[in-house]
Symmetry: C2
Subunit: 306 residues, 2 copies
C-alpha cells in the first residue's frame, strides 16, 4: 500500500533501536521474544513513516529523538494489535502472515507483552538523550492521550460495543477516528511539533498545526476505510491476515454501511480532503507539492484491479 | 493491615480526583464504569499513602500535584490487578470481596479497562497544572520504568514462569522485587523527590534517596511476604479474595519455600531493615522517630492471633 523507497536508512535505524532498547530493558527472555516477535512481524511502519515524513516536510532532521518517538509509536501500535487479536477481543489467529502473538506464546504472555510495549513506549521517550524536557512532556502526554480512553482504547471499546448492531456512518466515523485515527493524528502532530522550528511556534504555526491535524484526520479515516475495503476485496495471501472477518463478527464497516461503491467514494473524498489540507499548509510554508506525504496519500488510493 | 487515620482528607481528595479525571477523559460509559468499579473496590491505597507519607516525612506539602501522582500510582496498581486476575493469568473471581473485573464486565472490557488505566496514568501526570516540566518527566519516566518490563510486567512474567517449579529464595525475591517492589519503591522515590526541596537536591540528598530506596526495597519485600503469609493464614471473609490460591497454582511463596515460621522470620527481618534504613535518614535530616512511615512499617508486622 505504501511506498517505502525513501527513509530506508531511517527505518533500519528504527528497527535496530527497537531491538536494542527492548533487549536492554527486559528481564525475562520469553517476554522479550514475544515483544520482538510482533515488533518484527513485518508491519508497514505507516505511523513511523508518517511521523518522519512530517518532520521532513517542515525541513526538520530525522535525528535520534525522532527515531525514538517513531519507535514508541510503533510499540503502541503493536501492543494494540496484540491485545485486539486476543480471543476475548477479535480472536484472530493470523497477523502479517504469521500466527498471532497469543497463538505463539499463549494468552498470558501476549497480554503482558502488550502491557510491556505500552509501558516501555513512555519510558523510551522519557529517557531519550535527544529530546528536551519540554518536548518529552509534550510527546509523552500526547501519546497517552491518543492511546487512551478518549483515543485508541475508547475506539476499541466502541468497536466491540457496535458489533451486531447497525450504526450510522457518523457513529462509525467516531469509532474510526479514535481507534485508528488518534495515533495517526499523533504521528502528524508530533512530526509537526518536532519539524517546525520551535522558536517560531507562534500564531501562524498554530494555524499550521490545525491544518496538519485536518490533514491527519482525513488521512486516518481514509486509512481505515481502505482497511475496511481490503477486508472485503483483498486476499489472505496478500494481506497476511484473515479476510472477511468483519462480516463474520458483524462489525460496522464502510462497505457494510455504504456498499463497496459507496465506501470507495468515501475513500476518494477523504483522500481529496487530506490532499487539500496539505496543500493549504504548502501554500503557507511556500513549499512544492511533490513531497513524500503526497505519496502516502496516493498509496491509499484504490488502484484498478484491486 | 494499615492504619489510615491520617491523610483522611487527602484520601478523599484522591478518590474524588480519580472519579473526576476518569469521567472527563472517557468516551465510552461501559469503559468508565469498569475502570471505576475496580478503582472504587475498596483498596487499601497503600501506595498513595506511602507516597504522601514520604512527602510529609520530608516536610513537603500534599499539594494537588502529589495527589495526582498518587492517583496515577493507584491507577497503575489497579490495572495490574485487573490483568493479573484474568483467566489466562491467575484466574481469580473474587477481589476485595467483589467479583473481579472480568467476571463483572467480561474479559474484553477488563483488558481494555486495564489498558485505559495504565495509559491514563501517564496522561494525568503530563497534564497536571501543579507539577513542573522537569518533575513531570522524572515522574512519568520513573513510573514507566517501575511498571514496565524491568519492573512490574517483568515480575509478573517471572511469577507465571516460576509456577510448578521450585525457585530459590533469591529467585523469588527477584520476582517480588519487580512484581510488587518496583511500584512501592517508586512511591517512596517519588515522595522523596517531591518532598525534598529540589534546590537542595545535592550530594547529601542523593545519599538520602539511596537510603530511602533501601527502606522501600525492604518494605516492598515485607509487603509481599506478608501477602504470601496471609494467603496461607488469612480468611476469605477478612481479605476479600480467595485464599490458598498460591498453593493451588503451585506458586513460589515464602511460606512454600521456608515454611510459615521461616516466612514470618523473613518478614521480621525485612521490617527491621526497613526501620533501620528509615532511621538512617532520620539522623541525616534530624527528625524524630515517630513519623507515620513507622506506622506503615508497624502495620505489616505479624500480630498475635493472626
Amino acid at each position: 500500500m505504501i511506498t517505502q523507497k525513501i527513509f530506508q536508512k531511517e527505518l533500519v535505524a528504527l528497527d535496530e533501536w527497537l531491538v536494542t532498547y527492548l533487549t536492554k530493558t527486559s528481564t525475562e527472555p520469553v517476554l522479550l521474544e514475544s515483544m520482538l516477535y510482533s515488533i518484527q512481524a513485518g508491519g508497514k511502519r505507516f505511523r513511523p513513516l508518517l511521523l518522519m515524513g512530517t518532520v521532513d516536510f517542515f525541513g526538520g532532521t530525522i535525528h535520534p529523538g525522532v527515531i525514538q518517538v517513531a519507535a514508541a509509536l510503533e510499540m503502541i501500535h503493536t501492543y494494540s494489535l496484540i491485545h485486539d487479536d486476543l480471543p476475548a477481543m477479535d480472536n484472530d489467529d493470523l497477523r502479517r502472515g504469521k500466527p498471532t502473538n497469543h497463538i505463539q506464546y499463549g494468552e498470558a504472555i501476549a497480554i503482558l507483552a502488550g502491557d510491556g510495549l505500552l509501558t516501555e513506549a513512555f519510558q523510551m521517550i522519557g529517557e531519550s538523550l535527544d529530546l528536551t524536557e519540554q518536548e518529552k512532556v509534550w510527546l509523552m502526554t500526547g501519546l497517552a492521550k491518543a492511546s487512551g480512553t478518549k483515543g485508541m482504547v475508547g475506539g476499541q471499546v466502541g468497536d466491540l460495543a457496535g458489533e451486531h448492531q447497525q450504526l450510522t456512518v457518523e457513529q462509525l466515523a467516531s469509532i474510526h477516528h479514535r481507534k485508528t485515527g488518534a495515533l495517526i493524528e499523533y504521528a502528524v502532530g508530533a512530526g509537526t511539533y518536532l519539524g517546525l522550528p520551535q522558536e517560531n511556534f507562534t500564531c501562524s504555526n498554530h494555524q499550521i498545526m490545525e491544518d496538519m491535524t485536518c490533514f491527519a484526520q482525513h488521512l486516518g479515516l481514509a486509512f481505515q476505510i481502505k482497511d475496511d475495503i481490503l477486508d472485503v476485496t483483498g486476499s489472505e495471501a496478500l494481506l497476511g491476515k484473515r479476510v472477511q472477518k468483519d462480516q463474520t463478527l458483524e462489525k460496522n464497516t464502510y462497505p457494510a454501511l455504504l456498499g463497496l461503491t459507496g465506501a470507495k467514494a468515501s475513500l476518494t473524498n477523504e483522500l481529496a480532503s487530506a490532499r487539500k489540507a496539505l496543500q493549504t499548509v504548502e501554500s503557507l510554508i511556500k513549499t512544492s507539492s511533490n513531497h513524500y506525504l503526497h505519496q502516502l496519500i496516493d498509496g491509499l488510493e484504490e488502484k484498478d484491479g484491486e
